[in-house]
């Protein structure tokens, strides 16, 4: 049996994915109400396809608030998402508590697998504690790299490209039960020392951030030089050194928390060991600059032209197919629009209006646009592309659509009389100076 301790987004997706591969799964969380909800098929997080997968494989997964039941398992995952603070630094205190709990409730011979987001050195320190504590010596400890992508978590959990497993000694075979579980996913397995695995996770995200930053930098240049990034992208995708899956869509900077956490970790590590991480500062600065792109366009087009403007915001989540607001550009925008009235709509995410007297969340995309001087589409949910533009025109007072991701068709918007602004295209905002 496979155990999972910690049922946040990561634990839920991973445990249900394991059940779907035919394994008996015991999923533990100390929150009794959460376990009751899960046992009845009610998920606390939104992830496309997850509820259906749970429903299909419910007979193989049991949710329990009793940690002692983990003694029945051959492999126990510590699968808690590690929270981050306002500076995107991990708070691993909960992880330490859960680790102690897991050690105390795992039977001798169990393989313990850390799936949570930890920094290089974390697993080795626990391994040393295991070796120096007689009652834990029969346990083996592994670190398995997770690359959860909210909104696409299931697809990645069910069809991973590879497994990266940090080991005390990578020359030793993995425990049979653990190996059997990983083999069920039919992808290559890369055992390596703990530190390498921990750094691999950072390496993956650093490469992604560098792509995102390069794309955003070049899109910014396009806007100012009269080029259109959309025309350039297809040529880059055909270059094998860049590739069809490269992050070539310009966006509003880094959000969601995971990439930001890893940047903070790399900066801290580099500082500790005396390595140069100046590039990380540049990425962070680039991200912040792009995050405020919508605000800059709105400032130029609307905020300085109306005494009491109303701005409609479509999308609050940091990206589509999630309800997460972590480092969401929409939330930053709304915080900055305190001299305007803001009406927002999001299919999943909810933002409190407490402490935001200028803000109201409404139930439909069109309702958000009532008497709006401008519309900002900050999260590119697919459903926004289906909105009737003629109705939108009727609802709005103004004609400005700030659509960074190009959710709406520009030509159609223009035919309806809108001014449509997208990331990466020549920006013709009215300048505040000559």
């Amino acid at each position: 049996m496979i155990g999972f301790a910690g049922l946040s987004h990561l634990g839920l997706v991973s445990s249900i994915a394991a059940a779907s591969k035919g394994f008996e799964v015991l999923a533990f969380d100390p929150d009794r109400a959460l376990c009751t909800d899960l046992q009845q098929g009610r998920l606390p997080v939104y992830e496309p396809g997850l509820a259906k997968l749970l429903e299909t494989h419910r007979e193989r997964i049991r949710f329990t608030p009793d940690v002692r039941e983990l003694r029945e398992c051959d492999v126990n995952y510590l699968s808690l998402d590690v929270p981050t603070d306002a500076g995107d630094r991990s708070d691993v205190s909960v992880l330490h508590e859960r680790m102690m709990e897991l050690l105390a409730n795992s039977a001798p011979g169990t393989a313990l697998v850390l799936l949570s987001q930890v920094s290089p050195g974390f697993t080795r320190r626990w391994e040393q504690r295991l070796r120096s504590t007689p009652e834990w010596r029969d346990l083996s400890l592994y670190y398995q790299v997770e690359t959860l992508i909210l909104g696409r978590a299931l697809e990645r959990a069910l069809r991973p490209e590879r497994f990266i497993v940090g080991c005390d000694d990578p020359r030793q075979p993995l425990p049979a039960a653990y190996r059997e579980l990983l083999d069920a996913f039919g992808c290559p397995i890369f055992p390596m020392r703990y530190e390498s695995a921990e750094l691999t996770k950072l390496a993956i995200n650093m490469y992604l951030v560098s792509s995102v930053s390069v794309t955003n930098t070049l899109a910014d240049l396009c806007e100012k030089l009269g080029a259109d990034w959309a025309e350039i992208v297809p040529t880059l995708k055909l270059d094998p050194r860049i590739g069809p899956s490269a992050y070539l869509a310009p966006g509003l900077g880094l959000s969601g928390g995971n990439l930001e956490r890893d940047l903070a970790t790399v900066r801290t590590l580099a500082n500790e060991v005396g390595a140069d991480a100046g590039v990380v500062d540049a990425w962070v600065a680039n991200s912040r600059q792009r995050r405020d792109w919508v605000l800059r366009v709105l400032h130029s087009e609307v905020l300085t032209r109306n005494d009491s403007p109303t701005v409609a915001v479509w999308g609050l989540a940091y990206k589509p197919d999630t309800a997460s607001l972590k480092n969401s550009p929409a939330v930053h925008l709304i915080e900055a629009l305190r001299t305007a009235w803001v009406r927002a709509y999001d299919p999943r995410a909810v933002l409190s209006s407490e402490g935001r007297p200028h803000f109201r969340q409404v139930d439909t995309a069109l309702d958000a646009c009532r008497d709006a001087d401008a519309l900002a589409i900050v999260t590119p949910w697919r459903e926004f592309a289906l909105v009737n533009l003629a109705l939108l025109r009727e609802r709005m007072r103004g004609r400005t659509i700030v659509d960074p991701f190009g959710v709406l068709d520009k030509a159609r918007c223009m035919r309806e009389g809108f001014d449509h602004v997208r990331l990466g295209e020549p920006l013709e905002v009215k300048e505040t100076v000559a």
Binding site: A285, R288, Q289, R291, D292, L295, A340, T432, V433, A434
Partner: protein
């Protein structure tokens, strides 16, 4: 980045301006008066900040609910050397000594974008300070001196770092709008280095004092660059000015004695702090400045 301690604009006490006879100080006094704010303008005639006795003198003039604006400095046109640096630091030392012992409602220090390196790329408040000149070094040092003093007396502290300011009352005559306007009116020539390719951000003095006024009304703390967010080349600036002049003006391109550098500002922090603040378009502000210069003549 700045934060407003006061949610809605309001100013209960008085605003005391150090450097009230200077370019910024005078315009600020005018602007605050137009808002009905009580002001006390101090210049070197009232309190000579170069003298140690200014500490006691200033202390005796200040009240607990005062807002203090420190807009006094020996500008580069009056000295770029070590002596000017030391004199400026001495002024900073005296104001810091007052501030350390005298809690106030709010203190605003008028610094400069000279705190950044000439080739620092896109500038924002988080850009490390790396001044290329003693003038910039002076501002960095005074910012730190005053921040420490304000911390000791628990006085809310604001630093504004404006780009080059221009307006009819400017006496500095530095390379840019003011010099171009004056020389166009004077001998009908605007002298550019090279072809005037360098791009700079320029802010009209009244825009700066309006923004500073809003910071005072909201008791803003932190550090904010004051730039319009759109840099234009000196060549564009010169051509705009020629169109404002009644008689023909010749643009004279002279040999460049320094490499071309550009200076752009990313002003999201300003937009977040004051989302509806609008800078006067450059051509309008230049026209106003030209008109006021003509009227004064």
């Amino acid at each position: 980045m700045i934060r407003h301690l006061q949610p809605a604009p309001a100013l209960r006490g008085r605003v005391v301006v150090l450097g009230a006879s200077g370019f910024v100080g005078r315009d600020l006094m005018d602007h605050l008066s137009s808002l009905g704010v009580e002001t006390l303008g101090l210049s070197s005639r009232n309190v000579n900040l170069l003298e140690a006795s200014s500490v006691e003198r200033l202390q005796s003039l200040l009240r607990k609910d005062d807002t203090l604006v420190f807009a006094s400095a020996i500008t580069p046109d009056r000295g770029r050397d070590t002596r000017a640096l030391m004199r400026n630091l001495s002024m900073g030392e005296h104001v810091a000594a007052v501030l350390e012992k005298t809690p106030l409602a709010h203190v605003a220090y008028i610094s400069s974008d000279a705190v950044y390196a000439d080739d620092a790329g896109l500038l924002r408040e988080t850009t490390p300070t790396a001044p290329d000149t003693l003038y910039g070094l002076m501002h960095v040092t005074r910012e730190r001196m005053l921040a420490l003093a304000a911390q000791k007396s628990q006085t809310p502290f604001l630093v504004l770092r404006p780009v080059a300011l221009y307006g009819p009352a400017d006496t500095h005559n530095s390379y840019g709008p003011n010099r171009f306007l004056r020389s166009a009116r004077g001998d009908g020539k605007i002298r550019l280095f090279g072809d005037g390719e360098e791009k700079r951000d320029h802010v009209y003095i009244r825009d700066f004092t309006r923004l500073l006024g809003q910071c005072l009304l909201r008791r803003s703390i932190g550090t904010l660059n004051v730039a319009a967010g759109r840099a234009v080349s000196f060549a564009v600036l010169a051509r705009t000015i020629t169109k404002l002049c009644e008689r023909p003006v010749c643009i004279d391109c002279q040999e460049r004695n320094a490499p071309i550098t550009h200076r752009h500002f990313e002003i999201s922090a300003l937009l977040q702090a004051f989302p509806s603040f609008a800078f006067t378009p450059l051509h309008e502000a230049l026209a106003m400045t030209a008109g006021q210069l003509a009227a004064a003549a």
